[in-house]
């Protein structure tokens, strides 16, 4: 009961704050509107202006990748996924990844003959993460004597979840990658990442490191 009263009180206080915040700029806006000139004239000049924000921009990047992922105790297996990136500046970017893999058998399962730790469905691994990246060493890479492509090395760090063994695990990932720009809008990416989560599949809970190497393409738009 006491907590509900607290919420009612806080709610009232919040609404009052909101009211104050809304009314202040509205008063200001009214005086500004009075001073505004003929809107038709303003509109025509706007249309002819050269506006940099109307230019085609290529800050978003979508890509697909495939490679090998090692999951501690479960072997190294094929992994494939998709990524979406937004480039905040020439150096900073944020990205989201989603990928799938399928785990093999542990040494215990192989040696014991018939024992199965996981069901078939539990061997499917899916992960997603949201990461922040920083571009290091931008420059050009030379291929033979005739070709030069823009390229860079990047580092990423982020967090996400891994669905594996019938459970979702909080996962931290980090790694290094190399991007080679074949054109302004097409890039070849290679990356090596570590996915770290805690697992209790083999008894005691432990932190496991899972290394992934992938190659992929992405397009900018």
């Amino acid at each position: 009961m006491e907590s509900r009263l607290q919420y009612i009180f806080l709610g009232c206080a919040f609404i009052a704050l909101v009211f104050v915040a809304v009314s202040a700029p509205m008063l200001h806006a009214a005086t500004a509107a009075d001073l505004e000139q003929d809107p038709l004239v303003v509109r025509e000049t706007d249309r002819r202006d050269v506006r940099v924000d109307k230019l085609d921009s290529e800050n978003f990047e979508l890509g697909a990748f495939a490679g090998m992922m090692n999951v501690e105790d479960f072997g190294t297996n094929f992994v494939y996924g998709i990524k979406a990136t937004y480039h905040v500046s020439e150096a900073l970017f944020v990205e989201g990844n989603y990928a799938q893999s399928r785990m093999g058998q542990t040494s215990f399962e192989l040696l014991s003959g018939g024992a199965q730790l996981l069901t078939d469905a539990q061997r499917d691994l899916k992960y997603y993460n949201l990461s922040v990246g920083y571009t290091l060493f931008p420059g050009e890479s030379f291929v033979g004597s005739k070709w030069a492509f823009k390229s860079n090395l990047f580092v990423v760090v982020g967090a996400g979840a891994t669905d594996f063994g019938g459970d979702q695990r909080f996962t931290v990932n980090g790694g290094v990658g190399y991007a080679l720009y074949l054109t302004d809008w097409l890039a070849l990416n290679m990356s090596a990442r570590d996915h770290v989560f805690s697992s209790d599949l083999l008894g005691a809970s432990k932190t496991v490191h899972n290394i992934e190497f992938t190659v992929g393409f992405s397009i900018f738009f």
């Binding site: 907590s3 704050l17 921009s57 738009f221």
Partner: protein, 253 residues
């Protein structure tokens, strides 16, 4: 095992994206006049790329496209047009063909104050469990925004999801470190982990109050720290109160 349909969809998506990119031929590529004493053209969209050409005052250049805070331009040289990259802020003295200044997008913290949308993600702790959140703010005014967020909860004993709507009040939007207050409601769904014997799945209503701060870093990039106190209403006798601490990043438009 790769699903053929998944690969098919990815290929189709890539093809569609490529074709629409090529088909949009009627691009906006305005012609402008250099009014500064000169402008440097670089080979790539970054400060480290070498300067390979200098465009002089009164020369005309065509603006082709933009990548972060760089613009790709094309000269009209009769001996062969050159394409290179110019930093947006280096074009502040550039004029259009009528001799009028071109309109550059807002730079730095100025654009942070004029944001309409804010999209981000964060990670943190919800009552001992890890919590991952994606959120979107729509700014009704510089001070007030409506926020929608979706969270995944990853605990040692329970997993779950949480969705919230709230109003966010930022009393000082013009500050680089801009504090805010939130008040909202939502639902929380929790389920026990397969390896733990526990009660059944639960779905409850929650209300929360919170405070946090946005820290404007650079460009469209913001760091956000936040604390929320949730009250779980409903299926239990007494209302349970839980704390949420998190930090993350967002980009705004």
């Amino acid at each position: 095992m790769i699903h053929k349909s998944t690969i098919g969809k990815i290929c189709l998506f890539i093809l569609l994206t490529l074709s629409t990119g090529q088909l949009l031929a009627a691009k906006y590529e305005p012609l402008v006049v250099v009014a500064d004493s000169y402008i440097d053209l670089r080979t790539g969209p970054g400060r480290g790329f070498p300067i390979f050409h200098v465009v002089e005052k009164n020369e005309q250049i065509r603006l082709i496209k933009r990548k972060t805070d760089w613009i790709k331009v094309k000269t009209l040289d009769k001996s062969g047009a050159k394409e290179g990259w110019v930093r947006v802020r280096d074009m502040h003295k550039t004029l259009d063909t009528d001799g009028k200044a071109i309109q550059l997008p807002k730079q730095g913290i100025e654009q942070f104050n004029a944001r309409n949308w804010n999209l981000g993600f964060s990670g943190g702790d919800l009552d001992g469990a890890a919590i991952l959140t994606v959120f979107a703010n729509y700014y009704l005014s510089p001070r007030i925004s409506a926020q929608l967020s979706a969270s995944q909860i990853l605990g040692d004993f329970t997993d779950g999801y949480m969705g919230n709507v709230n109003l966010t009040l930022s009393p000082f939007p013009e500050w680089r470190v801009s504090p805010f207050f939130t008040l909202g409601t939502g639902i929380i769904h929790t389920k026990p982990q397969t390896t733990v014997v526990q009660a059944e799945d639960r779905t409850d209503e929650i209300v929360h109050v919170g405070l946090g701060t946005d820290v404007y870093l650079t460009q469209r990039f913001v760091f956000r720290m936040e604390y929320k106190r949730h009250t779980i209403l409903g299926s239990q006798e007494t209302n349970e109160e839980i704390n949420e601490w998190k930090a993350g990043f967002s980009i705004f438009f």
